[in-house]
Every structure is written in structure tokens, then in C-alpha cells.
């Protein structure tokens, strides 16, 4: 069972993401911001990181950059959740090592469909 680290400062988004992922059979761990996520990621191995971009303490892009530098997360898929439809944040995220992105707003079905692109079924 793949274990996913879901990072978002919005508790209702975390709730929705966690519920959706858990319903689909994934194990989920939540983190409220980038700094907490980095701590949790260091303490365990996750198969996928889903990170919101705008967060206090450490934003999603910095988190992805920091994780990518860790040997354990060199190849781990990391998706950013962004509301920016434009290319700016996507390019910034890609430069930091993001695997891909999911544009908010998204519904549970879109989230699961996106996961299929990075997690083997």
C-alpha cells in the first residue's frame, strides 16, 4: 500500500485529500506546512508527496527542493497543488524537482486520476 504525505495548510483541503486517498486504499500522513512535512519525510519513507504551494513557514516549492536533495527522496514522485493556471509556478516547481502538478480546484476523481500518472497501480 503506497504511503502518501499530504501537505496543505488548509485543514479542509487536507481532510478532503486524506479522505479521498484513504478511500482509495492509500496510507496517508498529513502535514500542516512545509517545515512539518520535511520533518515527517525525514522520519519515514513516503512513496508520494502532495504539497500545496502557498504555506506558512516553508512553502511547497522549497519543500520539494529540500526533499529532492535527500537521497531517500531522489526519485520519489512529488506533486504540487497549485491554483496558478499560469506557467510561472509550474516552471518554478519543476526547477525545484517537482514531478508534476494538480491545479486547484480539483475534485476527488481528478486527484485519483492524477495519482495514477505517478504511482504504479
Amino acid at each position: 500500500m503506497p504511503h502518501i504525505l499530504a501537505v496543505d495548510d488548509s485543514s479542509s483541503m487536507r481532510q478532503m485529500v486524506s479522505f479521498t486517498l484513504a478511500s482509495a486504499g492509500y496510507a496517508v500522513t498529513e502535514a500542516e506546512d512545509g517545515a512539518i512535512a520535511l520533518d515527517k519525510a525525514r522520519g519515514g519513507q513516503y512513496d508520494l508527496v502532495l504539497a500545496d504551494v502557498n504555506m506558512p513557514n516553508m512553502d511547497g516549492i522549497s519543500l520539494i527542493r529540500a526533499l529532492r536533495a535527500l537521497p531517500a527522496y531522489q526519485y520519489t514522485p512529488m506533486l504540487m497543488l497549485t491554483t496558478e493556471a499560469g506557467d510561472g509556478k509550474k516552471q518554478e516547481g519543476r526547477a525545484a524537482g517537482a514531478t508534476g502538478w494538480l491545479v486547484k480546484p480539483f475534485n476527488p476523481e481528478q486527484l485519483l486520476a492524477t495519482l495514477k500518472r505517478v504511482l504504479p497501480q
Binding site: 479542509s12 496558478e84 504504479p120
Partner: protein, 666 residues
Amino acid sequence: MSIDIRQFHAGFFEESLEGLSVMEAGLLDLESGQATEETLHAIFRAAHSIKGGAGSFGFSRISQATHHLETLLDEMRAGHRSADAGVLKVLYQSVDGVRAMISAAQAEQPCPEAQVQAFEAALKAVLGAAPASGSAAQADAPAPAPSSRAAWSIHCAPAPGLLATGNEPLLLMQALAELGELTGTLIEPQGEDVAIETLSVDDCRLAWDLTLVTDADEATIRDVFSWVDDCCALTVTQRAATSPPKPEATAPVAVAATAVAEQPARLEATVAAPPQLPTASIRVGVDKVDALIDLVGELVITQAMLHQAVSGLDPVQFERLHSTLEQLERNTRSLQSSVLAVRMLPVGTVFSRFPRVVRDLADKLGKRVKLVLEGEATELDKGMIERITDPLMHLLRNALDHGLETIEERRAVGKPEECRLKLSARHASGSIVLEIEDDGRGLNREKILAKAIERGVISERPATDADIDNLIFEPGFSTADAVTDVSGRGVGMDVVRKNVLALGGRIELFSNPGKGTRVAVRLPLTLAILDGMSVAVGDEVFIVPIASVMESFQPQPGQMPPLGGQQRLVKVRDTYLPLMRLADHFGLPTAYEGPGIAVVVEADGRRLALMVDALVGQQQVVIKSLEQNYRSVPGVAGATILGDGRVALILDVSRLTAVSALAIAA
């Protein structure tokens, strides 16, 4: 799998309303110049979260409206725009508008469209251009019409670093295969040869020629590669003929893909931990907590009954029973306080609403006011917090409207132009004291007196200044020369006092003419239990709230001079206090002949000595409503069940002192 998104709505509403409070607090800081670098970011993030959540949870109108707000905040965050008064006004207006939208959605009411359009127009005016279409609108855009079935040639040559982005060629091909029939060939990548010593197993040095027969259009095919288009050479061309390619010319994709199958294997090999639930907090219904508190209350009573039943047993013979019961008592007490703590919230949750109110009001009244909040972390019962908000709001409005002076008035008397209004909370001997203190003009006693006499509230001048000040709590009293829309029609202060009394609290007023006014609201920590002193009268036991007990003593005959044939006063040190025999007051038969005990109690600044037969003890009692179970009885605040199973009445000291004051006056 279909997931009902509505189950997340309550969380979204609550979080969004919290976010709006954060925004409001941030705007106030910006306005007062107390903002730090983080302030704008926090405001932006709150707007951003509301927008993102609204879109995801199906509130496209909210998402659309917050888009402009977010754009403006983003410009401010980037330093392209300063927080001048005009911008702040629009931001306040927007916060109010978004709050109205969320409240409407929460109540399943239609969107307050007029208010929303007003703030949207204001935002657009500030942004100075037609707004860019929001992402919500983009999400609603119709999908492109399906194209007819065609064969596509796809050449895909990932850069060596592809795997290090977490992307996986096999999954890309699986995604393509879902679009139609996919066949392909693994080919050798073009480019320079790599020396064996620099070859890394982490590099992806493969390329594919693929054929896809699909209904999908080119954009859909390219979308599969959207995450890798910068690290993957890609060509997608439509073949002229739609006939599928000959199978013998190509090898199945699955074979080609085995070369990169190492990565998923590693993923699967990691030990999957069991699903972890969020541990930070859980949201539960208040009714569940209340049921729990009720049950614990019953448990405390049962434990007390058990204690009483066992107390007659020989402590040596039943040593283990006694010690186990003691342990049960300790555990019950800590269970009770833990459960009560669940209902406790910091008063900051109420306080945070006031800065905005004070700002708006001060603006309207032409006063400059600095609101100081203290002790926001002090915890208070949730039910109490809900019921004290309106009285506090009224006291604040009153202080602003009547207490504080305008800039000119303050200048004239040599005070600093900025008024100081302090709202504080603190613990004080088992209760919470909420204080509103201003440095305004204080109460005008002569005016109050004149008005009270005119209104027939009193007939002659009360003895003390404090009594005059307290007249403002009398029903129907108002000193406002003109009725203002700020603090209303003088129906407020008596209602404030009534509400505070109903919570088992009391309100005290201290005025210093020319210097300011202080109003202290003293509340019990919780509505569920009470620290009480039990007193015996005849066969009955009454509970006196310990917070109102000043002292108790055995009066000597000389301390109680007969007055008109009755002992109606007791001399305590140098002052005489009214004396009330509880037996007489409640019409109880008492055969008690002894000297009795006088318990001096205080409420609303009035003292009274209660004559009882004996003091029984001091204990925490669980409050049961008399009104709900029987009916309201004057002088009785509630009831409780004693350890022996009997019902004891809890005295309403405030009412008793008022009754005795009337009796003395008569």
C-alpha cells in the same frame, strides 16, 4: 469510486471564517502600522486558501469572487501596490462580502449577490482593469469536442534526468495506452556515446517510437507528457492512414518498459505504514461533549453517595474498601476536570472580533481609539463564551459612545488625543474576570441622578456614588442626549446585567470622573459545577456559592439588637448588616434553639448576613437546573444532589441581597 464532497463543507466553512478573521486582524495591523513582513503573506494565504477550497468544494461563485481579492493581495505582496486607505477600505469591504457569501452558503441561502457585486466592482476599480478570468471559470470551460479516430506517431526521448523528477516512463505509456491502442518500439537514443565510467544507473538513456490509435486529439496526447515536456524530446504527428500498423514491425510496449521497471519495484518494497489519523485535533459535536459532562456529573454524585454509604464502616476492618474509594474519588475528580476542559476555549476567540468593531465605530464617531487586549489565552466554557459575547460587545460600544471623548474634547482637557480602551481577561479566585477599562470622561453622576429621578427610577439621592453609578443598570435608563445608532435606546445596560447574572456572574462598575470608567464582569469558570458551602437549616441543606461568601461567625446576642421586636440587623465590627433568617425566608419549620451561625455574603456590592443552624461543609456540586425540572423559584439559583441522595437548593445570593435591601428600605 464516488466521494460525496458535501461532507467536507462544514470544515471548509469553519476554516474560511477563521481565515477571514486572520485577514481582518492583518488588515487592522496594516492600518495601524503594526504589520510585519509576514502579515501580508498571512492575509494572502487566507484568501488563497478560501479560493482554492471554494473551487474544490463546489462553491464556484465564492472562488470567482475571491479571485480578484487574491489578485489585489498578490500585487500588494509583490510590492506593486501599497496599503493606502482606499485599498484597505476595499479589502475590508471584500472581507465582509466574502464572509456574507460563506455565511449564506453555510445557511444554504442564496448568495448575497448585490453585496458581492459591490465589492467585486470595488476590487476591479482598484485593480484598474477588467479582471482576468479566474481559474474557476477555466475549470468550467467545456472540454474540446472529441476528434475522430486516428493513428498518431509519437517519438519520445527523455533526458537522462527524467527519473530524478519522480516521473516514470512506464506510467506515461500506461496513460497513453488508456487513450487507445498503443504499440511501440524501444529505440537507441540519439546523441553522444557515454563513457562507461561516467554512466550512471540513475540516468534514463532510452527512447521510444510509439503508435497510438485513438479518438483523442493532439492536445490530449501531449497533455500526458505535460509534466515532462522540458526533459523529454517529443514529437507527435498524425499519420495519413488510419489503418493500424503491422504487428510484426513492433515489439509490445511491456517488453520495452521492463528496462525501467526497477523504480516501481523499489516503491512497492517500502513498508507501508498503517493509515495514520490526524492527531492534532478532532471536531466533535457540542451535544456529545455535553452528554459526557452530564454523565460525569452523575458519576460524581454516585461516587459521593458511595462515599457516604461507606463512611460508617470500620476503617480498620474495611481498609482496602476505604483506600480504593479514595482512589475512585481522585479519579472521578480528575475525569471531571478533564471533561470540563474539553469545553474550554480561550477568550481570544471572542476578543478577536472586537478590534474591527472598535475601529469602525471609532471611525464613525470621530474618535481615535487604541484597543488593548490582554489575557486572550484565558480559558472559559464554550457556552459561557457564546453568551458573554453580546454583553461584552454592548459594554464596548457603550464605552466608545458615552465614555470616550472626541479628539477635540480630549485636546481641550489636556489628554492625549488617542483614547485607550482596554479589554482584559484573567483568573481570580475560581472565577474569570473580564474587564473593560477606558480613559474617558467617566460617568456624569449629576446627569444620571437627574435622569433617574425624571424617569422615576428613584425618588431620592442614593447614599453613595457607587449607588448612583449603578443606576445605569436599571431598566429603561439612558443618558444619551440623542439616541444614537451606536449604543441603542438605553435598553442595553440592564439587559447586560441580566445576562451576566443569568450566567451566575456579577457586574461591577467603577467610575472616576474625568479619568475613566472600568466595568468588571466576574463569571464562574463553568456552568456545570459550583464550589459551594453547604449549610443546614432545620432538616434542609442549602448550598451557598463560595464565591459570594465573605465570612461566617457565631454572633453574640449583643451583636443583634432587636429592632421593632425583631432581630433584623447584625453588627459586624463597626457596621450593621441586614440579617436574614433562611428558615423564615423559606418558611421552614425549625426546632433549632442554638445560637446559630451568620454567613456574610456579598452580591452586587451589597452585603447580607444569612442566619443558618450550622455549617455542614464545603464541596463542589453539580448544578441541576430547577427551571428545567420544576420551575423558577425566587432566591434559588438551582439544585444539586447530595451524597446521601437528597436534593439541596443552591441559593441565588444576588436575589437574596436585593430582597433584603428592599425589606430594610420598607
